[in-house]
Amino acid sequence: MSLRARVLDALGEVIDPELDEPVTTLGFVSSCEVSAAGDVTVHLRLPTPQCAPNFAFLMASDARTAVGRVPGVGAVEVVLDDHFTGAEINAAVARGAGFGDAFPGETRGDLAALRTLFRRKALVGRQARICQALAADHDDATICAMRIDELAPTPEVERCLQLRRELGLPHGGDAPALVAGDGSAIEPDQLRMWLRKARLMTLSLESNGEICRALLAVRYPDQPQEVEVPA
């Protein structure tokens, strides 16, 4: 596998925290150049110049970290293009600084709480899809009693487990397949209303992703994604 392919692989692990999708499949990576010496330049683009600076920062900063970890990579430059706070973000990411340093006086802390909030939303949204699929041929009591080991290891399930690890929620094979916010199993008599609420979260994540894709396509109509995502 070429160094560029491994760099792209690494970028595929960078998630838009608000949409819970990789920046590569969202089309946010507009170019990725690797020099003979292994120096990498990645350009990121977003659907609007006003996309939230906090999420933009997380993606740019995570991209730099992910690419920097790839063996053989030299210097890493990540450039967020066409964004109203691009200059601040690019400068802070380049010097490895935190969000607070990018916007002095405009934050009260780092982005950990924001990231946690959106991991929770992402987990709820993904669990709703898993639950809906299970509901096709299982009754509510059976679904609530299911363990992780009983789920097929689909990418959706794997992502849920990763989120549960990151959130400190139980994720062992005998942990409940679906969990509430505190990590406990869901009671069968509450499953339908839980699903209604969780499904709304799925819709929110999915429709935001759709809006972002649609706006990105309008913003860059003649520049289709240059980056081939490794299979």
């Binding site: 109203f84 209604r196 609420k197 929110s204 999915e206 429709s207 809006i211 649609a214 309008v218």
Partner: protein, 353 residues
């Protein structure tokens, strides 16, 4: 009134603009922000049908004739509500201010309602201005844009102590419709800038005011729905939902409508075209003819004729005290339906789901 298949519809477009984003109106040194803003709006227009797209030149500044044709002739609007958006940080005379909208409202004798604005960061001077505006323009509503930049601040929330006197003043002056738009640059930047929780608190503290959450809280529709279920005075403004999704993403539009009808209910949803981002005609006709695309949506509430009549005008007529011609009113029996029970959404926080 719009007539279709023998049914009469009273049309209130709760979200229209007559703006000036032309280069002559750009603040020197902030041209990039002024240009970026209108280009972003223009990109949203791209989500509507191709034959309704404008050039960026027309989009920056359209004429009175354009407005009258699009809103009244083609859009069949009985009443329109101007939502002022000042943005004086980068538009010299403002983007669409009360003063800019007033001559047009005057020309159309009562068919265009003028909503003003306030900003808690303007303090006592702002309160005095609100009082003056309320008298001069007979305001029944305001549009609040919490993401607006002002003197180095990148936004505010309805919870700020400085905002409370303004809400009290609205209650006192009978400005009972508070339209709120959440934007992407609220301070502090490390929080979720779209979180509508501050509206929840304000709605509880000011029960006589109605809070219309524009664009149904998108991109936080879940937070908005849970809140609207708990608060009887919180409404869903459909601007952008219809314009941005109905044509470009019809299946998502169907899900969003289904969820709104379930959680918020047809009595608390308000049609708005967000003209001139999108022309009203295709949105109105689309909504009138709309139904769920297939049976996979069968557990959502139905979009009935009554629901259409309410959402397209009757609900807004109640909020703005507009007289509805008899033939467009509903029969007694059709008047209310129950959305999701309040208990269902009680204390919904993502940690509790």
């Amino acid at each position: 009134m719009y007539e279709k298949d023998g049914e009469k519809f009273f049309i209130v477009d709760t979200h229209i603009h007559f703006w000036d984003a032309s280069p002559q109106n750009w603040v020197k040194g902030r041209e990039d922000l002024a240009k970026g803003w209108i280009e972003c709006f223009h990109a949203y227009q791209g989500l509507g049908p191709a034959d309704t797209h404008w050039t960026i030149e027309k989009f920056m500044k359209y004429s009175e004739d354009d407005f009258e044709k699009d809103v009244f002739e083609e859009g069949k609007t009985d009443y329109g509500v101007f939502q002022s958006t000042y943005l004086k940080y980068w538009y010299t005379d403002g983007f669409n201010t009360l003063a800019q909208n007033a001559p047009m409202a005057e020309k159309h004798g009562g068919r265009l309602l003028l909503n003003g604005r306030w900003d808690p960061r303007e303090g006592d001077a702002g309160l005095r201005q609100l009082e003056e505006d309320a008298k001069r323009y007979n305001m029944k509503g305001v549009k609040l844009y919490t993401a607006e930049w002002y003197n180095g601040s990148r936004g505010w929330t309805l919870n700020d102590p400085e905002a409370q006197p303004f809400l009290e003043k609205c209650q006192e002056l009978g400005i009972k419709n508070i339209h709120v738009h959440k934007g992407p640059t609220i301070w502090p930047l490390d929080k979720d800038a779209f979180d509508p929780k501050d509206i929840d608190h304000a709605a509880t503290n000011f029960p006589e005011l109605n809070f219309i959450v524009e664009h149904v809280g998108l991109p936080r529709i879940e937070d908005f729905c849970f809140m609207a279920t708990q608060e009887p005075n919180v409404y869903a403004g459909l601007a952008v939902v219809v314009g941005g999704l109905m044509h470009a993403r019809p299946r998502f539009f169907a899900k969003v409508m289904g969820e709104l009808l379930f959680w918020v209910g047809e009595d608390k949803m308000l049609y708005g075209s967000d003209y001139a981002i999108w022309e009203p005609k295709w949105q109105l006709e689309g909504l009138l003819g709309w139904d769920y695309p297939d049976e996979t949506f069968s557990d959502y509430p139905r979009f009935t004729l009554e629901a259409k009549k309410k959402i397209l005008g009757l609900n807004a007529a109640k909020l703005y005290d507009l007289e509805v011609p008899k033939e467009a009113q509903l029969a007694e029996a059709e008047k209310t339906t129950e959305p999701a029970a309040e208990d269902d959404a009680k204390l919904v926080e993502v940690d509790n789901i």
